[in-house]
């Protein structure tokens, strides 16, 4: 099994007519993803590589029965695109676009939570989601992942997500689902959402979690792992020796309450029983040991 998506997931691409959207839409379709529709307000009736274009998400859902949407719209239009997808009736929205203003993200996160509580948003600024062999929505190169299981991956960083998939494939370890939640301030889907889903997924036996400095999402995940996870977890936090990235002034320092450094995150995770590696290779080796002992 996989989480959030599977081989039956029908996907609409908002922005399929653009250069990024058409490129990755085609790669996703070649991988085997059910790419059933694109949207463009002025290009309804046309097609991209045989995939029909509808005027909006609601019409695309009505015509195809799609349940997911993938957004390749430029940053200024993402807020509108996310709400259009939710109002159009999809249950799962993947926003790949980077550079979305934080105030837009905070707004649509809360709008979805209140008015569309059953809709899951992944991203923005994320590589997407891949369930190897079944479905690939986003910009991950499909062939760097081995299908099957028993590992689930959740990551805040794009290239490190690929690195993790690749390290496991080199060790002949399969992946049930790999979720890139993105590194923006208000991610639609959190580490905890993914950990919860992996814990409930019978085919996922262990989880690899890749974090980054900043914020307190990793600390919150550690708390969740400690209290709710029975499955083993390995982890790596990027930025152990990085200079402080974004200075948020005094108010920001208080919000984080001393959290946010790699050391604090690694300590919280280790304290929750997670096998913490010092680099991606080490985290991969730790996962190989975990898998060997399952």
């Amino acid at each position: 099994m996989s989480i959030f998506v599977d081989e039956n997931t029908k996907v609409i691409y908002q922005g399929l007519t653009g250069s990024q959207g058409s490129y990755y839409g085609r790669l996703n379709a070649e991988y085997g993803t059910q790419v059933v529709a694109g949207t463009h307000p002025k290009k309804a009736g046309s097609d991209v590589d045989g995939v029909p274009i509808y005027a909006n998400v609601a019409e695309a859902v009505a015509a195809t029965g799609a349940t997911a949407s993938c957004i390749f719209i430029p940053a200024p239009g993402v807020k509108g695109a996310v709400m259009e997808a939710a109002e159009g009736g999809v249950e799962f929205i993947v926003a790949i676009t980077e550079g979305v203003p934080a105030h837009d993200e905070a707004y649509f996160f809360n709008d979805l939570k209140r008015n569309f509580p059953n809709v899951r948003l992944l991203g923005p600024n994320c590589p997407g989601i891949i369930s190897p062999g079944k479905c690939n929505i986003g910009i991950t190169a499909g062939h760097i992942a081995k299908e099957g299981g028993p590992v689930g991956i959740v990551s805040r960083s794009g290239t490190l997500t690929y690195q993790a998939l690749y390290e496991l494939k080199q060790k002949d370890i399969g992946v049930t689902t790999c979720v890139g939640i993105g590194g923006d301030p208000v991610p639609g889907t959190s580490f905890i959402d993914c950990l919860e889903a992996f814990e409930a997924d019978p085919d996922t036996k262990a989880v690899m979690m890749i974090g980054e400095i900043g914020g307190s999402a990793e600390e919150e995940a550690a708390e969740f792992i400690k209290n709710h996870m029975t499955k083993p977890v390995s982890s790596y936090i990027a930025g152990v020796t990085a200079p402080p990235g974004k200075k948020m002034g005094h108010a920001g320092a208080i919000v984080s309450g001393g959290k946010g450094t790699a050391a604090a995150k690694m300590e919280a995770l280790a304290d929750a029983g997670v096998a913490v590696g010092n680099n991606p290779t080490e985290a991969g080796e730790l996962m190989a040991e975990i898998v060997a002992n399952l």
Partner: protein
């Protein structure tokens, strides 16, 4: 993007907030002329992107023009936490009865906006938070609702300000929230917000960080981009559109993706070296971007070796290899380069590089080995 205090005040003024009249000055003569126009007494304030100005002697009261001359001379060129003062803000001095603190920022954990208000302003708010957390009134705001009148009044009441300050503070908190949301700020902070002896609430300082991602809907934000503090290397990288942060070490680092770039800096440190920079060239690794990155790193006199760490995802290994070779033809590189190429079609890419390898261009299979090699070459 961090704003200077005076830019922050001009930004606040656009939302109707009461700030003092003042002028920016870049020399002692400028400062004196500004003070003559404003009329003494004035405050002479260092404009730097760092806190602790007062303690460092960067904020002075000047009763007359002679003092303006003296203080401006002392403050210009002053080193405050590594920031050299190059501009001043000359502002009409205010009488202060009480000092408060106010701010809005995003609480990433709650995924809501967080407002903080305290009657203990004018001091470091971290200290207040630690020693007397109850003195900070907090409000979490759902962006869909915004800051309602009732919620704002309850919040200000919770801060226990004297009656004379309540109405003025409520009004300014609405304006501050508008500046924060409509202005797409990551942080707006006033410390101190003052009550004058006449009973007026007034903005005496401004700390503003704007979200660079929102530039597309704010035509005037380019002016702030120009005043961001960058060293020479960072300026050159910024001009080329590269994500670059200068560090102190001797191993130049080029990687694709922010996570991998951070991870590369980590690994160089872990094997006993010290990175000269963080540089993310983004998803692809074409010759243009690679040449620009190599040029920036090559111009850094501290660099003794260069570690190129590329993971091919969609971009195939042979494209990466050809990009590196083409870039090396365009830029003459002084330091030896160590390449680690992995991911999609890594073998094909390595085959392209192999015949070109020599003591100036080396290749290692893993990230750790490549880090060790580049550190060895730099020492």
């Amino acid at each position: 993007m961090d704003l200077f205090e005076h830019q922050g005040k001009e930004f606040f003024a656009q939302f109707g907030m009461p700030v003092s009249p003042g002028e920016a000055a870049f020399s002692v003569d400028d400062a004196v002329a500004a003070a003559e126009r404003l009329g003494t007494p004035v405050m002479v304030k260092a404009q730097v992107h760092t806190g602790g100005r007062g303690k460092a002697g960067g904020v002075k009261f000047a009763a007359d023009i002679d003092s303006v001359r003296e203080h401006a001379g002392n403050i210009l060129g002053l080193d405050i936490n590594g920031h050299i003062v190059q501009r001043l803000w000359i502002e009409k001095a205010s009488d202060i009865a009480e000092e408060y603190y106010a701010s809005f920022t995003l609480d990433r954990s709650a995924k809501k906006h967080l407002g903080m208000l305290s009657k203990e302003g004018g001091v470091e708010i971290e200290t207040v938070a630690e020693e007397n957390p109850d003195a900070i009134a907090k409000i979490w705001i759902d962006p869909v609702d915004g800051l309602t009148e009732a919620a704002c009044r309850d919040w200000v009441a919770a801060a226990n300000l004297p009656d004379a300050a309540v109405e003025g503070t409520v009004a300014i908190m609405h304006q501050l929230y508008a500046a924060y949301t409509e202005g797409d700020a990551d942080l707006v902070e006033i410390n101190p917000l003052i009550l004058t002896p006449e009973g007026n609430v007034h903005v005496l300082d401004a700390k503003v960080t704007l979200d660079g991602n929102s530039e597309f809907r704010h035509d005037d934000y380019g002016q702030y981009d120009e005043t961001q503090p960058r060293d020479e290397r960072e300026e050159a990288a910024h001009a080329k559109g590269l994500q670059y942060v200068g560090l102190e070490g001797s191993v130049g680092v080029i990687a694709n993706g922010a996570g991998l770039a951070m991870s590369t800096v980590d690994v160089v440190n872990q094997v006993g070296g010290s990175p000269a920079n963080f540089l993310d060239i983004g998803g692809g690794a074409n010759a243009d971007v690679m040449a620009g990155a190599l040029e920036v790193i090559n111009n850094d006199p501290n660099v003794k070796s260069i570690f190129i760490n590329i993971f091919g995802g969609i971009t195939r290994g042979e494209e990466v290899a050809n990009g590196i070779l083409e870039a090396m033809e365009r830029v003459e590189i002084d330091s030896p380069i160590v390449i680690r190429l992995d991911g999609t079609n890594a073998d094909e890419g390595r085959e392209i590089l192999r015949p070109k390898l020599n003591d100036k261009l080396m290749m290692e299979e893993t990230m750790l080995d490549a880090a060790r090699k580049s550190v060895e070459l730099a020492s």
